[in-house]
Structure formats: structure tokens, C-alpha cells
Symmetry: C2
Subunit: 345 residues, 2 copies
DNA sequence: TTGAAAGCGCTACCAT
DNA sequence: ATGGTAGCGCTTTCAA
């Protein structure tokens, strides 16, 4: 059942073939099932594989097939629970399709990752993350190396060779603003990690559009962060304090994500503003803690399962045939909890 | 500067050699620097590499060297911010040593990962995570395949072939209990994700030891979770509610980690118990949100930078020479914030 | 139905 | 100081 303890020589196909008394080719075909092999030989091979503890060498295989059966996920924020949730679902979907998944945090310069992905014959990449700082040059390198690419954002003016799966924040923002309106809110502020110059963030423009459409408000109250963008709890806290210094004339606050919302709530409470009695707060993402936060956060939920399997599906299609470029948006759901209440004032 | 647009054939060393007018071997040696090459030839090669956009094929290289220059990190909780923080620092340290890092979430059965690591000639693995459910059999497979292993826990009775880097929870627990004692607490409860049967969790036994040592209390108040262990916010919330149903006779509560502490605080507040006025709460890990939580959480901080570089250092040493087995513990620091106050009653 | 053998791109040894 | 070349373990075509 187990390999001999000798750490010396790795068991290769040759030894399996010898022990089973068949040719090396036959061993290959038994492993891959790509050619019919008689029950008897198959049996002998399987037994030999077991007895020797043979593992086929994916590296040698990759060299010939020029594909490694692995995909990579590039993220720039390993500590972001939502991204991780999505990545988890990608890993699950990918591995059940036989792909190994390489998760790359964004600690190094992008060049390093791109070079590695190419050198290691990674079959496809998903670029997760809020607006990922990937340049056209990187893109070209990947594409030229015949690596499938799926972006975590989709926009109208993106490279037509690129696939994309993204969350439909446009629709999500609509759900949020509509919810607040139904509670009687009208003076709604938006706390954004990204400013107008950020490419890839759909939330801010969507907010403007909604406020215009729903209330005819042309210049709603908005507080944004600046590059390098940061969407953490501390940033939410910091920005909210800044906002409060400018005005307190709002009854609801929408945040770029739940973490910013946590920070915002801390800041509000610290300034003596009650949530949701005085100000309602809405987050986006429904991360792990959001339902247990105090007060439980009203937020947008993203069906990460669906997201992950869509990414893998699209990536696989693209790997199989580069000319298949698909894009998809995942519709979020509004989860109403305790951080929103009817407008007080 | 760029490869030709033809996605057809990948540029190989042969083409570089031709273009530079040198032998293939020389190209190799220029790339690896393992043999002296005259400035002139080196120049020509470098230029050809640039012009053709040549990327050396790590897969072919790995096949020969029988090492892939990559390590893997196995975690079972991709959504745990502390683990991710550590993994981030591991990636950074590893990549600057020339290793590529494979982060594996624990969505599939361990067998799958182990088989993949072996098949892909991964050089070493770090097993992150709270007590990782890895069996002796898996260990043997890895070790037999000559893969270096560093555990995220260290205990006295562990396999002598295994390296380990762990957080010194024994010392950490002492810091916590001492802090609470200095605030006048004596009836201290411990909310544990793991029960007595869990191998690998040092916190629970350390708590017992501290309570005995500091107060002579033999059977302190403890509420534990059960397999499958779960150390999330919800679990903290759930367990705390259970605890409160049994007794309210405690003035301080220590939790397995910050997320459990968040849940605990929610539960306490919901039951009308104020934090820290009525009960002080201490977490462990100092995750991203802890300082912005309301109230800001008193907790243990882990120097994740040091952790990551230690892991990589030890792993590299072990890869270079399997007989070098090192173990290390990282000492945590206590971060006092607003969730602890002098004992009221 | 099965086996033999030609490479995949590279490293490293042996020549020169 | 440089070039030629034998494999690494595997897939796959071609023969038998």
C-alpha cells in the first residue's frame, strides 16, 4: 500500500511497468484511460501502482501537454474576507474539474507573478480584487503566452479578448437606495473607498445615477478616499470622521463595503450618533461577521458560490478555446438587518 | 521588446540561441549564471531574450532538477484574517527567496492536496491553521516524497522529523490572565473553540495552568465547542449564549480568537451585559478589525512578519537538508484597548 | 490489443 | 571560454 521507505528514488512509470509486466505505454494508458486496455493488464497495473505508491509526475506531463492543469487567482488583498470567500468557491469548482489552484497574494510586483505564471505554464488566471492594477503590458504577456484571463470586473471599454465575471453593483446600489427610500430616507450619503479617478469601481457612479433617478439629486453627499485606495475598517473610520467634520446633515450612509461600514459605525457611535436610530448604515458584501456585528449590518450579499463556479466555467471554456470570450454579472441580494431603520428626522 | 503576436509557438531556448548566434548551453548558462560567459556573448543573449520575449520554462527545469522552486501553504480557513496575514508574510519572504507560493484552501479532502503537492514536485509545505486535520499517513507520504514540512503548531510529542513554527500561546495566555488579574478580575471564564480532545490547541491547557498558578483555581469556568471545531463569530456568539444560560458569575471572558470575541461581545450586549463595564473581554490574534471594533478589543498580537520569515527560513533549511529540523515559537504581545476594565463586582 | 520510440525544453556533463 | 548531447518522465504516433 505504501512506498518503500527509501527516500532515495521516486517511483516512476518504468518501475510500475516492470512490476506489472507490461510496457510503459500501457501504464500511461491505464492511468489516462485514453486507450482500451484489457481487464487483466489493467488489473496488474493498478495493483503495481498501489503497491509501489506511484504518483504520476504532473511536471513531466505538463511539459509534453504544454498545460499544467492549474489555474491561478491573483488577488491584492489576502485579508479581505469576501475575496477569500469567492476564491474558496473558485478553488472548489476548479479542483472538482481537475485543476489545481494557485492563489497569489499581491505582495510582490505584478511582473513577478506574471513571469511565474508564464514560466510555469499556468493555464488560466482570474484577476480578483477591487480594481486590480494590471497594465495592458501584463495583459499582453499573458495573452501571448496563451493564458486564459478572467477579470473580476467588467466594463464596456475593456479589452475584447478578456473574459470577466463581476458583481452587478449597479443593480446592487439600486437595491440599497430603494430600500433606504422605502424607509423614508432622502438625505443619503455615500462613503467610498475609491474616488472618481478609480477605474473599475462601479459603485460610486451607480450611486450618483441612483440619487439622480430616485430623488433628482444632482450632487449627493459623497466622501471618498484617495490613492492608494484602501477599503479597510480603519479607512471607513477615518473617512467617516472626516465626513462628520464637514456635515451631519444625512440620515443614511452607504459604504463601499462591510469593513468600511464597521469603521463608519464605530466613528458614528463615538461621535454620539446612534445607529440606526439617528443614522442608518448599509454595507456591501455580507462578509462573515456582518450578521453578528452589533448592530447586525444591512448589506448586499453576493452569492459567492455562483460567482466561483461561473469564473471557473468561463475560464475553462476560454482555456479550451481562446476565441470564446464570455462575460457575466452576478446579481446581488439585499439582506436587511438591524443597521437600517426608518428615517428619524 | 515584445514577442511576436503569433500565439502559435512558444519561444524556446533554441530560438534564443540561434538569434544570438551561440549554443543552447550558453543561453542556459547566461540565464542561470552558473558558468562564466564572456561579456560579449552574454550581451547578445540578453538582447535576444529581450527581443523574443523569452521566458525560461520552469516546468522543463523542474523536471530535471526534481524541484519546482515552489512551496505550498495549506490552510483550512481562507476566511481567517490572521491566517491570511501570516500567509501573506510567508509569500513575501518566500518569493524574495525565489520560491513561488501555492496557497491551498481546505475545500477539498486533504488527499487531493497531498497528491497534487507530490505530483507537482512542490519542495515544501507549511501547514497553517488551527489544529490541522492531517493524519500520520499524509505526513508519511509527504516525507517519503522528500517534501519539507513545517507545522503551524509545535508540541512535545510531535513527529521528530517535522519542523514547526508556532505562536507561544502559553506565554500569551499568561499575559492575558496577568493583565486581568492586575485589573482585579478573579472570576475569569474562557470561551474555547476547541475542547479537551483537540490536539494542537495549546490555549485551553494554558488557561487551566494559569488559573491554577495565579489563583489556585482548579476548575475554572470554561465553555468549549465541539468537533468539527469552528472558531467564527457565530460560534462565539452561540457559545456565549450557552454560557450565559449556565451562569453569569464571571467578570472577564477570554476567547480563543478575536472573531469569537466579537461574537461573544454581541451576545453579551444583547443580553444586557455591558462590555467592559460589567464584563471584560479579551481576544487573541489582533486581526484587522480588532482595533476598530466597538469597543476596541484588548487582544494578543502575533508579529506575523516574524512568523512568516521564520517559516520560510526553516522550510528552506529543511529543503536544503532534510536532517535539519528546527522548531520555533513566536512570542505574542498584549495589546490593551477598551474591552477590558477594572473588575466591577 | 499492446509495444517501441520520438521528442517536449531544459540542465549539466563531457568535449573541445 | 564555449559547444554538443544525454537524458529527466511522460504522451502519443506508428508498428506489430
Amino acid at each position: 500500500m505504501q512506498a518503500r521507505k527509501g527516500e532515495k528514488s521516486k517511483i516512476t512509470r518504468r518501475e510500475v511497468a516492470q512490476r506489472a509486466g507490461v510496457s510503459e505505454a500501457t501504464v500511461s494508458f491505464v492511468m489516462s484511460g485514453k486507450r482500451f486496455v484489457s481487464e487483466e493488464l489493467k488489473d496488474r497495473v493498478v495493483r503495481a501502482v498501489d503497491e509501489l505508491g506511484y504518483h504520476p509526475d504532473m511536471i513531466a506531463r505538463a511539459m509534453i501537454e504544454k498545460k499544467s492543469n492549474s489555474i491561478a487567482v491573483l488577488t491584492n488583498d489576502l485579508e479581505n474576507p469576501l475575496q477569500m470567500k469567492i476564491i474558496k468557491s473558485i478553488e472548489e469548482a476548479a479542483m472538482s474539474k481537475g485543476y489545481f489552484v494557485n492563489i497569489c497574494g499581491g505582495t510582490m510586483k505584478l511582473d513577478r507573478y506574471v513571469a511565474n505564471l508564464i514560466s510555469r505554464h499556468i493555464d488560466g488566471v482570474f484577476l480578483a480584487g477591487d480594481p486590480y492594477a494590471i497594465t495592458g503590458n501584463h495583459m499582453n504577456q499573458l495573452l501571448e503566452s496563451n493564458i486564459g484571463v478572467v477579470l473580476g470586473t467588467v466594463s464596456d471599454d475593456m479589452d475584447p479578448r478578456l473574459c470577466g465575471v463581476a458583481i452587478d453593483f449597479k443593480e446592487g446600489m439600486r437595491l440599497i437606495v430603494d430600500h433606504l427610500r422605502s424607509l423614508g430616507h432622502r438625505r443619503i450619503a455615500y462613503l467610498s473607498a475609491f474616488d472618481e479617478n478609480s477605474i473599475g469601481d462601479v459603485r460610486l457612479p451607480s450611486f450618483y445615477r441612483c440619487m439622480k433617478e430616485f430623488f433628482g439629486v444632482g450632487a449627493p453627499l459623497v466622501k471618498t478616499g484617495h490613492p492608494p485606495y484602501d477599503s479597510t475598517v480603519s479607512e471607513g473610520y477615518r473617512l467617516t470622521l472626516g465626513l462628520l467634520r464637514e456635515t451631519r446633515d444625512f440620515t443614511a450612509l452607504i459604504c463601499t463595503n462591510d469593513m468600511m461600514a464597521f469603521g463608519a459605525i464605530s466613528a458614528l457611535q463615538q461621535e454620539g450618533i446612534r445607529v440606526p436610530a439617528d443614522v442608518s448604515v448599509v454595507g456591501i458584501d455580507d462578509i462573515l461577521f456582518s450578521k453578528d456585528f452589533y448592530p447586525a449590518l444591512t448589506t448586499l450579499s453576493h452569492q459567492t458560490e455562483e460567482f466561483g463556479s461561473k469564473v471557473v466555467e468561463i475560464l475553462c471554456n476560454n482555456i479550451a478555446d481562446r476565441s470564446v470570450v464570455q462575460r457575466e454579472v452576478i446579481r446581488p441580494k439585499l439582506i436587511v438587518r438591524d443597521s437600517t431603520a426608518p428615517a428619524a428626522r
